[in-house]
């Protein structure tokens, strides 16, 4: 059990390629942190620096109260679960689980007890004498987790552990990882590019882009108040609609349509407006924006309607039974609009939001 302090950490590869820049992160004991971002955003590099598999070029990492920049991976009191499992192919499951403990000269009785316990927890007891080859993908993943659990480390590091599994197994293993982490209370850092995995697992999300932190916050914070257009488009499915618009006093012009803002205008001039697909609703009569339907995606519980307002693409999430016609009129509650600067894509904090953030004692999402 340990907290982790990441201070001004950066990674520059030989040849001067900068992979990670100025990462500051305080991870509390027992917290489940998910690093999420598109491929190449530096999330794996950051995790590997925490693990000690990559050298730390700048800044410092503390696990507990100890600076670990120059500590070997084996001595950092961490355990890692790899994407391709990285089980030792010539050892049985039991030997795989025991290996790390044997290297640490753990007494035999203790090893047996821990292996039995972990195997029971992961329901792999009947496979203990098999080689990894004779296991399915999901079972191998369990063994890989077992190998981490038996060590009783103070930190678990997961490097996209579920991306080699099929969709159904991924969902069930996701639940299992969450359940295990709750039960063991071990600080965990989990890397994924799957925003759904990130949302469901995380206590706190760290959204990375281009080697830098875009936003840190609870999944709902990040979902409801994305700090930038990047986060807005990355978190949530379908992705948040981002349209160019013009603030004209208390009114917003999106293409040919005008929306009244009822005092929610935080800026003037050209802005990027973000609208969640589920915040849009169909209205009758002449109010709202004209929406030309292009195609519909059926999800069963929802229908995702893709279409155009003026020349800007929008997606609306409607309930499964709703009627769809060629041209509809749609509207949105002005309080549910997200405003982003048209220049740098950063969130423009409205007066109400700022007030709400000030009232809450938790640190406000960075604007």
């Amino acid at each position: 059990m340990a907290s982790i302090d990441v201070e001004k950490v950066g990674k520059i590869y030989t040849g001067g390629v900068r992979a990670v820049t100025d990462i500051n992160l305080e991870i509390k004991d027992g917290e489940f942190i998910v690093l999420v971002g598109p491929s190449g955003c530096g999330k794996s590099t950051l995790l590997r620096m925490l693990a000690g598999l990559e050298t730390i070029s700048e800044g410092q990492v503390k696990i507990g109260s100890r600076v670990v920049n120059r500590v070997e991976p084996a001595d950092r009191d961490i355990a890692m679960v790899f994407q391709n499992y990285a089980l030792y192919p010539h050892m049985t499951v039991r030997q795989n689980l025991e290996y790390g403990l044997k290297n640490r000269k753990t007494p035999k009785a203790e090893i047996d007890a821990r292996v039995t316990e972990a195997a029971r927890m992961l329901e792999i007891t009947q496979y203990l004498d098999r080689k990894p080859r004779a296991l399915s993908g999901g079972q191998r993943q369990r063994v890989a987790m077992g190998r981490a659990i038996v060590r009783k480390p103070s930190v678990f590091l997961f490097d996209e552990p579920l991306s080699n599994l099929d969709a159904k197994l991924r969902v069930s293993m996701r639940g299992e990882i969450k359940r295990l982490q709750r039960r063991l209370g071990t600080t965990s850092i989990y890397v994924t590019h799957d925003q759904l995995e990130a949302m469901t697992l995380a206590d706190r999300l760290v959204v990375l882009n281009g080697g830098q932190i875009e936003q840190v916050g609870s999944p709902l914070d990040v979902y409801h108040t994305p700090a930038s257009t990047f986060v807005a488009s990355f978190i949530g499915s379908p992705a948040m609609n981002l349209v160019k618009a013009e603030c004209q006093g208390d009114r917003l012009a999106i293409g040919p349509a005008m929306i009244s803002l009822n005092g929610y205008a935080p800026a003037s001039g050209t802005v990027t407006v973000g609208i969640r697909a589920e915040d849009l609703r169909v209205v009758s009569g002449e109010e709202g924006m004209p929406f030309v339907v292009e195609y519909v995606e059926e999800l069963g519980s929802q229908r995702l309607v893709h279409g155009l307002v003026g020349d800007q693409a929008l997606t609306i999430a409607l309930s499964g039974e709703s009627e769809i016609s060629g041209t509809m009129r749609i509207a949105v509650d002005p309080a549910r609009l997200h405003f982003f600067s048209a220049d740098d894509g950063k969130r423009i904090v409205s007066a109400n939001e700022a007030a709400r953030a000030a009232a809450a004692s938790s640190p406000a999402p960075v604007a």
């Binding site: 693990a51 000690g52 598999l53 070997e72 991976p73 084996a74 001595d75 961490i78 355990a79 890692m80 790899f82 994407q83 391709n84 499992y85 990285a86 089980l87 030792y88 192919p89 010539h90 290996y99 790390g100 290297n103 640490r104 080689k131 990894p132 080859r133 190998r147 060590r151």
Partner: protein
């Protein structure tokens, strides 16, 4: 390719049998010749069926024939060959697996250069560098010694290259998992890399043992003391007859016996080799 056409089956078998005959016929002739007495062979036509002197010829070659040529006993030379082949095999595998380990898993200056220097020696046959090698061995006083017989042949670029290629296919994550599990470099080598290389080691053992067993030119150069003579040299010596008559029946018996160790190695190691292939998986 799964085909089910009778003609094709016939054709493939015909090719197979033809190939087998071409390869096996000389061996068969050698065996037949080793079972006849000398006058029969000296008629100039080797019979096609085994004769009745099998036990006589083989016991003669194993006991007193070599002494007539000023050579040590057959079994003594066989032992020499065996020691040389085993030392070369083990030495080559140990050295090449360790150099490949160094080249693949450690970062040190001139690492790539070191690899290429090793690799370039692949392109020179032993015969090209045999004079300088002889000079060095002679200057070091290693003529007529086990060291002289084995050490100059013990480094293997081929084996190093093969191990390097194999190590590069081992996923990096396995190394990383081992590091997190607290295995240092040598522990990783012993506990993980070596067991994973079992198949390759088995295959190389077969090739290298035969390479060591059939060495002829080098032992001939560095040994003048007959006590260090290997089987290949002894057999050659017997073919150069002193009184004009070559005892082909004994030579052939000796040759057939000399083929046995490589055959045994192939049979024995092949079993391990196939088991290794089916059991390991990266």
């Amino acid at each position: 390719m799964v085909e089910n056409r009778p003609f094709l089956t016939f054709l493939t078998h015909a090719f197979l049998i033809f190939g087998f005959v071409v390869v096996a016929f000389p061996v068969y002739v050698a065996f037949v010749a080793s079972t006849h007495d000398l006058p029969t062979l000296l008629t100039g036509a080797v019979p096609m069926l085994p004769g009745s002197h099998f036990i006589e010829n083989y016991s003669a070659i194993l006991t007193n024939v070599s002494a007539a040529h000023g050579l040590p006993n057959y079994s003594h030379m066989a032992l020499n060959s065996l020691i040389m082949a085993i030392v070369i095999t083990v030495g080559k595998i140990v050295i090449s697996i360790m150099s490949a380990f160094a080249i693949v898993y450690f970062r040190f200056p001139f690492r790539v250069l070191a690899f290429w220097i090793i690799f370039v020696t692949l392109m020179l046959p032993v015969e090209v560098r045999i004079m300088p090698t002889y000079k060095i061995v002679a200057d070091l006083g290693m003529l007529n010694s086990w060291a002289g017989l084995t050490i100059p042949l013990i480094a293997s670029a081929t084996a190093t290259f093969l191990f390097r290629q194999f190590f590069m296919t081992v996923p990096d994550e396995i190394l990383e998992a081992a590091r997190v599990d607290g295995a240092g470099a040598m522990k990783f080598f012993w506990d993980i890399l070596l067991p994973l290389s079992r198949t390759n080691i088995g295959a190389l053992c077969v090739i290298l043992f035969i390479y060591g067993w059939v060495q002829y030119l080098w032992p001939m150069l560095v040994t003048t003391d007959t006590g260090y003579y290997t089987l290949m040299m002894g057999m050659k010596r017997m073919v150069t007859a002193q009184d004009g008559v070559i005892a082909w029946n004994y030579v052939m018996a000796g040759s057939v016996l000399a083929m046995l160790p490589p055959i045994l190695i192939v049979i024995f190691m092949q079993r391990l080799f196939i088991r290794g292939l089916t059991e390991t998986e990266k």
